[in-house]
């Protein structure tokens, strides 16, 4: 490597993550969150504490041709830092229970045309995107929201890390998106979407932005066999509706999500509300959630893991998790784009079985109420954490969280 690229890179690092070279714009971000979590909601009626580095991420966002073409990428290093998941009672998915699964190394790799025809269509804007990333369904990725610990409804409220091709149209306050993607969810942090399944699943989302800062969406997705990669598993029919407010120091989100699996054999509901306020260097936040979770057969050698690949379509029960999470993040230190943001957050959890089945929360955890508390610090450099989950020009123009 010659010295010139290194010099450019150094300038980029010191320039807050943005550089302009003729018609090329580059944004970047790196972050990591060392976090200590302690909870008494642990299989086997015990408490457990763990120190892990979560959400280690490197992002690169390149815009070219006057923002007519964009490339968004995110590399997630959780494969190395939380290979066995993040201790997070209630979280589930991709073969994990009570631990949030590590995301795949290539978290996002999308080529985007945010406004394909520019002013040619007048007030109508057409956009398209393709690559590995977010399906136009539901709400923003929890990684780009205030609380560090993921909500229970991650697999009800978002569809991500898929090979996706989407197109959309924005006219005034309305945006309509539609996408084709592969239904199979990742089977490991290193896995790629099964390209032979591209197009077996689809989603559509209608978004309304009536005034600046307010965004409401309804979306629907059909996901073929998400939990069985060869395609032999049941399908999901997913619905989401939400309203999001972000203006000045205020942020708020209310969300409802609903998943019908196997034609309604299993129905999972979720309702969530969260808010945050940036004030005097602090960012207090709160999240209230009630979400359902399917209980699956756990492994002999780890009560946090479930059978993959699945053998049958049956579950042990559905549990309902009611959680109240509150925390505060402090802008403790900043040097150019380098920031240190310590935080502490705590959750109070209640667990109940919904309907019949052989899974007993009291037997599994020795309790039906408990807590989880996390303290840590977000180390970041580069641009502010963008919203994650949307590729339309309107969203990307407002992609900086307060």
């Amino acid at each position: 490597m010659t010295g010139r690229p290194l010099l450019v890179l150094a300038l980029l690092l010191l320039d807050g993550g943005a550089a302009a070279a003729q018609r090329l714009r580059v944004d970047w971000r790196v972050q990591a969150i060392p976090a200590l979590t302690e909870t008494d909601v642990v299989p086997g009626n015990r408490s457990l504490g763990e120190l892990r580095v979560v959400q280690p991420l490197a992002m690169l966002d390149v815009a070219a041709l006057g923002d007519r073409v964009r490339f968004m990428s995110a590399v997630d290093f959780e494969k190395y830092t939380i290979a066995h998941g993040e201790l997070a009672p209630g979280d589930w998915g991709e073969g994990f229970e009570d631990r949030r699964h590590p995301h795949t190394l290539v978290h996002q790799l999308m080529l985007i045309g945010p406004d394909l025809f520019g002013p040619l269509l007048g007030p109508v804007h057409v956009f398209a995107a393709a690559g590995k990333g977010f399906v136009p369904f539901g709400t923003d990725d929890p990684m780009s929201r205030p609380a560090v610990r993921y909500p229970v409804n991650h697999h009800l409220g978002q569809i991500l890390e898929r090979a996706v091709g989407l197109a959309g149209v924005r006219a005034g306050p309305l945006t309509l998106e539609a996408a084709l993607f592969n239904g199979d969810e990742p089977v490991s942090p290193g896995s790629w979407p099964d390209m032979s399944r591209f197009g077996d699943s689809w989603a559509t989302r209608l978004t309304l932005r009536p005034v600046s800062g307010l965004e409401a969406q309804v979306s629907y997705a059909f996901v073929h066999s998400p939990e069985n990669r060869p395609g032999a598993g049941p399908d999901d029919a997913k619905t989401s509706a939400s309203a999001r407010w972000e203006r000045g120091p205020w942020y708020g989100l209310v969300e409802w999500a609903h998943t019908r699996t196997a034609g309604g054999a299993f129905v999972l509901h979720s309702a969530l509300a969260e808010g945050a306020l940036a004030v005097a260097g602090h960012r207090p936040y709160v999240r209230i959630e009630r979400s359902d979770r399917p209980e699956e057969e756990r492994l002999f050698d780890s009560p946090f893991r479930t059978r993959r690949p699945l053998l049958e379509n049956s579950i042990l029960a559905i549990t309902r998790w009611t959680t109240v999470t509150a925390g505060d993040a402090v802008n403790a230190w900043r040097y150019r784009s380098l920031t240190l943001t310590p935080f502490v957050e705590g959750s109070y959890l209640g667990i109940a079985r919904v309907g019949g089945g052989v899974f007993d929360p009291q037997g599994q955890y020795g309790r039906t109420r408990g807590f989880a508390i996390t303290a840590g610090a977000r180390l970041a450099a580069g641009m502010r954490m963008p919203r994650m989950g949307r590729y339309d020009e309107g969203s990307m123009r407002e992609m900086r969280m307060p």
Binding site: A262, L311, G357
Partner: protein, 387 residues
């Protein structure tokens, strides 16, 4: 061909963990016998293989959404053998999820025309289930054709047994208990009206895994309430004895032979904290056929005993295990049928979901369904154990 030598397992210390049982301990003798891997038939991971049915030298594989696969393993129709299975025919069933089967040999008509296939749909274990019985016409084994369906609202089928002389199919029906169905004559279309009788064991007490007809009684193994003896009068069912005899674990499969019932336990959820589904229980059948627990075998480092069978000469007990490092095939001698003695095992890391005996050309084989992610049928020659 590969030869697998069975290693010694020190399991005696774990036997006492069978809380709530008789407290008797069956000490395994040093294993001295061998099990020979004959062949492995890969099955598409769609999900894979769930069960198999062996009769007349044919191996009928239930391969979930791949359907029903019929192999010649000694019948002669295609020149197959256990070491060289040859596919005779296959078909998919409506809705897929082919789970178990029974090939009906009708002694009244001398026909071998119908194959009953259980579909295991999505369910909540202990509470709900769905899945129909599909009727296939296998008059031409090379072209099995679905001709009928049996459906029940609110419950789904699991394992079968038949009273062939009386042309009655018995089906475990999970939360629907046990069902008896008249399968005489020609079967076509919706045969749901042919249900003779059904029986459950009470609300919150019924999730029936399997049935077995023996000495005029139908034995039902219920995951929630244990083993029941049912009176059976040409398909009309009533409770005779047993039941509410499995409290510390969930029940699984059963086999009845030699005046004893052998039942498995399921443990992917723990009924009592710290107690796994690692027990094979032995029930002595009284003069009237009522079951009384007399012994149990604890296999350490597994979660579930998923299938149970006894060889046709009643000398060898086999059960399959899943969920742990001791997953695989386990074999026990039945010289004393009340107290089986360890003979051998054949461990398979991903687990064996079901296992069936078959005697082919004088040799005794065990056919097992290997769990995903690398699903296959595993065929073992266990003749050396059959002494």
């Amino acid at each position: 061909m590969m030869r697998a030598w069975v290693s010694s397992l020190a399991i005696g210390s774990s036997l006492a963990a069978c809380s709530g049982d008789t407290g008797k301990v069956t000490q395994p003798p040093p294993p001295v016998t061998d099990v020979v891997l004959v062949d492995t038939i890969p099955v598409a991971p769609n999900y894979g293989i769930h069960d198999q049915y062996l009769r007349d030298g044919l191996d009928i594989v239930c391969a979930w959404n791949t359907g029903i696969l019929i192999y010649d393993v000694g019948n002669g129709i295609k020149g197959g053998s256990p070491s060289n299975p040859v596919l005779v025919g296959s078909t998919t069933t409506v809705g897929g999820e082919a789970h178990n089967t029974w090939w009906f040999h009708n002694p009244v008509t001398n026909e071998k025309r119908y194959l009953f296939v259980g579909q295991e749909g999505p369910g909540t274990i202990g509470s709900s289930s769905v899945g129909d019985i599909h009727v296939l016409d296998v008059s031409d084994l090379t072209k099995p054709t679905e001709v009928g369906t049996f459906h029940r609202n609110g419950s789904g089928t699991h394992n079968f047994w038949m009273d062939e002389p009386n042309q009655i199919l018995y089906a475990a029906y999970y939360n629907g208990g046990v069902v008896s169905i008249d399968v005489s004559g020609t079967l076509s279309g919706d045969i749901s009206s042919r249900m003779i009788d059904t029986i459950t064991f009470g609300a919150g007490d019924t999730y029936t895994w399997g049935v077995h007809l023996y000495n005029g009684s139908l034995y039902a193994m219920d995951m929630l309430s244990g083993i029941w003896q049912l009176h059976d009068s040409l398909g009309t069912l009533s409770i005779a004895a047993g039941g509410n005899n499995e409290t510390e674990r969930y029940g699984s499969d059963l086999w009845v032979a030699n005046g004893y019932a052998y039942t498995g336990t399921w443990g992917f959820a723990q009924r009592v904290s710290g107690v796994f589904g690692n027990a094979l229980k032995v029930w002595q059948l009284g003069a009237g056929g009522a079951p009384t627990l007399v012994d149990s075998i604890i296999t350490p480092n597994i979660l579930t005993v998923s299938d149970v069978g006894v060889s046709d000469d009643n000398k060898l007990l086999m059960f399959s295990t899943e969920g742990g490092p001791n997953s695989g095939f386990w074999f026990y001698g039945l010289a004393d049928p009340a107290h089986p003695t360890f003979r051998a095992n054949y461990l398979v890391g991903s687990g064996i979901h079901t296992a069936k005996f078959a005697r082919i050309n004088g040799k005794l084989y065990a056919f097992g369904a290997r769990d995903p992610g690398n699903p296959a049928q595993v065929i073992l020659d266990v003749s050396a154990l059959d002494q």
